[in-house]
Structure formats: C-alpha cells, structure tokens
Amino acid sequence: MKRPSLSFLSRVLAPLRAAYESLPPPVRRWTTPMLLAVFFVIALFSPSFINLYWQQVLIYVGINIILTASLNLVNGYMGEFSVGHAGFMAVGAYVASILTVWVFPRWGLGEYVPYLFPLALLIGGLAAGLTGLVIAFPSFRTRGDYLAIVTLAWNMIVKSVLENIDAIGGPRGFMGMQKLTSVAWVYVWVIITIYLLRNLVYSNFGRGTLSIREDEIASSLVSVDTRKVKITVFVVAAFFAGIAGGLFAHIIQFINPRSFSILKSTDVLVMVYLGGIGSLGGSILGATVYTVLLELLRPLQVWRWVVGPLLLVLLMIFRPYGIMGMREWRFLIPPEERVETVAALMERIRRKREAVAAPAPAGGSSG
C-alpha cells in the first residue's frame, strides 16, 4: 500500500523534532525513557490535582489506546478485518473481576487484592489470549469478509454465553469490583502494550505479518509460516484486549454482557481507522481524539451519537487512511529502523561534498 503524504501534525511538530535532533546523542538516547518516567510520576500524583471526572476520561483514553493498538495489529498490520474485539475484552473483564471479587478473597488474600490486581489482569489477558485461538483457527481457511463475519459471530457468542451463565449474573451483570484502576496503572499498561507491540511489529515476525497483509500466498512462498503468524497475532491482540477489559471492569466497577456488544467493537474499529491503520502512533492519536471528542460532545446528549458516525463517514470519504495511516511517529520506530528524512539526507550529502571540496578544519563548515 502506498503511504499518504506528510500530515499537518508532523509539520507542526517539525521544530520540536529539530530541537530534539540537535541534542547530543547520549542525551537523545535517554530522552524517551526520561520523559516516560516523568509522565509516570505525574500520573502517579495526578489524583491530587486532576478532578475525578478528568481522571476517568484519562483512564478511558488509556484503555482505548490499548484496545486500539492491539486491534491495529490484526486489522492494520496483518490486514484482516476483525470486528469482534469486544468479545476478547469481555473474557478479560470477567476473568479478572471473578479473580478479584471471588477467588482472591476466598483464598484469604482479600486485603492483598490491590497488589494482586496486575496478576488478575494478566490471567484475564491470558484467558482472552487463549480464546484468540477461536478466531485464529478459522483464519487458516477463511479470509477477508468471511473472517470478519467469524469474528462478529464470536463477539455475539461471547455476549450470548455470558448472558446465559447465571452464576456470574447473566444479563444482570457482575459487580463488587473495587476501584483498582488508576491513571498510573493504566499508564503503565499503555507503555507496556505500545512497547511490546512496537517490538513485535519491527521484529522479523512483524515483517511476516506485514507480508501477509500485502499478499498471503506470496509470503507463504517466501517461507513465512503464515499459520504461526496468524496464531500469534490473534492471540497477542486478544491478550491485550483482555488486559484492557480487566482495567475497564475495575474502573466502572460493574460489567454486564451488553457492555461488550458489537457496538463496543465498532467503537474500537472507529478508533483504529480514525487513527490510521498500520500505525501505533495513529492508534494512540485515534483513541485519544475519539475518546476526548465524545466527552466534549456530551452536552449534545443523544445527538452526539448522530454527530459521531457522521464525522466518521466524512473522515472515511475525505481521508480514507485515517489521521496517520501507514505512517509512524519517529520515536516509536526503533533507532536502527529509522529512515532519514529526505531533507536530512540531502543536508548530510551537501556537508560531505563541502568537506571534500574544501578540506578546512571541522569548525569552519557552513551551517
């Protein structure tokens, strides 16, 4: 697929990038981790200076980033069309909630629940990842629209099964979770998700994923193990959806099967395509813009669900690749993968030529 032209945003951020590139390399090496650490401290202390409402919005933004980035792995990087992401989210949410509400207290670990929360999330994520196999196996035989329908069916089946298990509340839902999700926790999980997904996408394996998107038969001919790639992608995406589900359950403290209907999946899809496929930066941006926009449109009440889809349709017509489809923020690309911008390359060549033409001391080169 061809890459769309440079976006407005990257032009706005150009001076910032220039400033960053003028830093000496050792400083540059540590800039991202330092910034992440600073943001973590801010997130940790955010409850003392951000009101509850905006904390909640931030948490939703984070959860949506995890959902969007993980769905982008399937829909954007592998080029399948999964419309059942909320199904995996539901599995993670229910498993994590059952652990923190029933299992841990029953084992006499009631007071340690806040510390065991990450473990509950992990187990929820793993359970969701396991169910990812349900989609992975049909994907060997079916592609495109039909696989989309399989994922849709999966979402409906999960919802229907949850509605029919009376022990976990059935259609009434499940409650009793403590409010364990905080801005700091969500922040940490977002960083973990983005970091792992970035490494996955830029690994050898990630190239296999991209090659399946471009042409599955050709990629299998150059000995990409397409089955292995598909299994891994679906399981990893489902895992992170499960984590997001666990976080979600422990912020709203009440889940019912309807929270994970096809509408939720549609929301995630919208964020993926709003941000742009094949881009983690796009997922972050898409999730943030969409979540905040819906909050800002809250005064419109019912009409915001009219305005939202309309915006989506307009976006698709005028910018079918989303905000930054197939492009990536520079800091999300591993250093050894970064491609020089044409301007920087030209500059380097010019300098080299000047240095050859006039062998003057290094300080004398023109700027």
């Binding site: 039909y146 069916a153 038969i217």
Partner: protein
C-alpha cells in the same frame, strides 16, 4: 404435531422477512463486494415510513379501504427507502469505490449508526405499532391456528422473491446486474452503465427491504433498534446462504427463521437463540466458508 405445524408457520413468517432483508445485503455484495452494514437500518427507516404513511392514510377522514391503504403504504415505503439507499450510495459509497475496501465497510457501519441514532434522536425510543390494515381473522384447521396476516406475509414474500428471481434472470437490467457482478471491468466495455446499475441494485434491495419492513411492522413493534436486531439476523441469513447469491439469501432467511423459532422449543430459554444462530454460522463458515450456495473464489497468484 399441532404445535410443530404451528411453529413451522411462525418460522416461515419470520423467515420470509429475514429473506427479504437478506436479499438487499446479498445483492449489494454481489455487485460491489461491499457488506452494506447500513441495510438493516434502511429496513428500520422503511418501517417508520410505513408507520407514518399508514397512520396518516388510515385516518377517519379519508375512509379508504384497508387493502388500498396497505398497497399505498408499501409503495410509499418502497419509494422512500429506495431513494434513501440511492442517496447513501451516491454520497457515502461512491466516493470510496477506489479507496481501500475496508474504508467502505467502515463507512457503511457509520451510515448505519447514523441512521439509527438519528431516528432515536428525532423520533424517540418508544416502540410503535403500525395501524391494522385488515381485521385479523384467525382460521383453525385441524387444531392449527393461523391468521390472514400470516398468510399475507408468507404469500407476498414468496411472490416478491419469485419476481426478483425473474428480474435478475430474465430481464435486461438483471442481465446487466449479473454482468457487473461477474466482471466489473469488462461490463462497462460491453456498454453496461455500471453506475446506473449499481444505483438500481441499491434501489431494488432497499425497496424489497421496505416490503419486508411493512410486513414485519404488521406483526411486531417498530423501534429504532430493530435495524440492528433484525438486520444482523438477516445478514447472517445472507452469509449462511452464500453472500452474493440471491437464491442462497432466500434459503438462508428461512433457515434462520427456523433457528429462531425452534431454539426456544428445544433449548430451555429463548436467550440461547443468538448463541445457537451464531454458533451455527461459525461452524458453517469453518467447514463451508462460502455458504450453502456460494462458490469458492479461486485465488490467483
């Protein structure tokens, strides 16, 4: 035995409506390989049109006979929804014909959500009832009770489906449709006006859904969410039958009608309905990925 026959009748009634809506999904898919997720909501809009037109025409001032009102209502609903579908195609899907296919699907989802929430915001969530066009007459035959409405629904649907099958197989328009569906690059070279044929396909699909909508409204209530509820089931029907295949959609509609009616008979609760229907779909897609009548598309390197 009596309940069995009774349930078969109910299943045929529901299946007819599913089949009529499924036709719209399958025709659009067949011609531009787009899953038109907005189709269920177009069906929903059609029942609202039928509701308003029907209520207005049934007013005491006009004193029209019921059968005339029914026909006029169906025609009005067909015309309004055909127009809506053609407009949607023109302004939302046509600009995306060259874009990645997924963009068009997302747009369809967006249009569907828009229609649904627009109806919700302007008309409200309360369920409504279509006026009674005919006095309900219940016949009993060998212990099986059935009403004239049931007969009308099953008969009208059957006639419409036969008519559509004839149009697609025997007329010039139908031939053009099949040509575009067969090869959309060669068809224009043979003088087929592709854009017009696509518009006609949308119009026919939507007006058939409008017939289904009016029939549906005569038995069940009308609310903004029915587009999702009924639309999804119709969509599964289309896929089960083999999406893109018109006869497949008809068969699929009846299969889903039977699944919906017979699940509560066999399993303890009607809440298992969705589970059964979607599991059926999942299993079918795993073992026969192209539906009952669909043909696998050969992949070329």
């Amino acid at each position: 035995m009596q309940t069995l026959v009774q349930q078969v009748l109910n299943a045929l009634q529901l299946g007819s409506v599913y089949a009529l809506i499924a036709l719209g999904y399958t025709m659009v898919y067949g011609i531009i390989t787009l899953i038109n997720f907005a189709h269920g909501d177009i069906f929903m809009v059609s029942t609202y049109v039928a509701f308003f037109v029907g209520t207005a025409l049934m007013s005491q001032l006009l004193r029209l006979p019921g059968i005339v009102v029914f026909v006029l209502t169906v025609l009005a609903a067909m015309f309004a929804t055909a127009l809506l579908a053609v407009l949607i195609e023109r302004f939302a899907y046509k600009p995306l014909r060259q874009a990645p296919r997924v963009s068009a699907v997302i747009t369809a989802l967006g249009v569907g959500l828009f229609l649904e929430n627009f109806t919700l915001a302007t008309i409200g969530p309360d369920p409504r009832f279509l006026p009674k066009f005919f006095p309900v007459v219940t016949f009993t035959m060998g212990g099986v009770a059935f009403s004239n409405i049931q007969i009308i629904i099953i008969a009208v649907s059957a006639v419409v489906m036969l008519l559509l099958d004839t149009i697609v197989r025997r007329t010039m328009v139908g031939m053009a449709m099949r040509a575009v569906s067969w090869d959309k690059f060669t068809a224009p070279l043979m003088g087929v006006p592709v854009d017009r044929i696509i518009s006609i396909t949308f119009a026919i699909g939507a007006s058939i859904a409008a017939i289904g909508g009016t029939l549906f409204g005569m038995v069940y209530t009308v609310d903004p969410y029915m587009g999702i509820r009924i639309g999804w089931w119709a969509f599964i029907s289309a896929v089960v039958g083999g999406i893109g295949n018109i006869r497949g959609a008809m068969i699929g509609g009846y299969i889903l009608g039977f699944v919906e009616i017979f699940t509560p008979v066999i399993l303890p609760a009607s809440t298992y309905r969705d589970f059964v229907a979607f599991s059926l779909l999942l299993v079918l897609l795993i073992f026969r990925p192209y539906g009952i009548l669909g043909r696998p598309v050969a992949q070329k390197v």
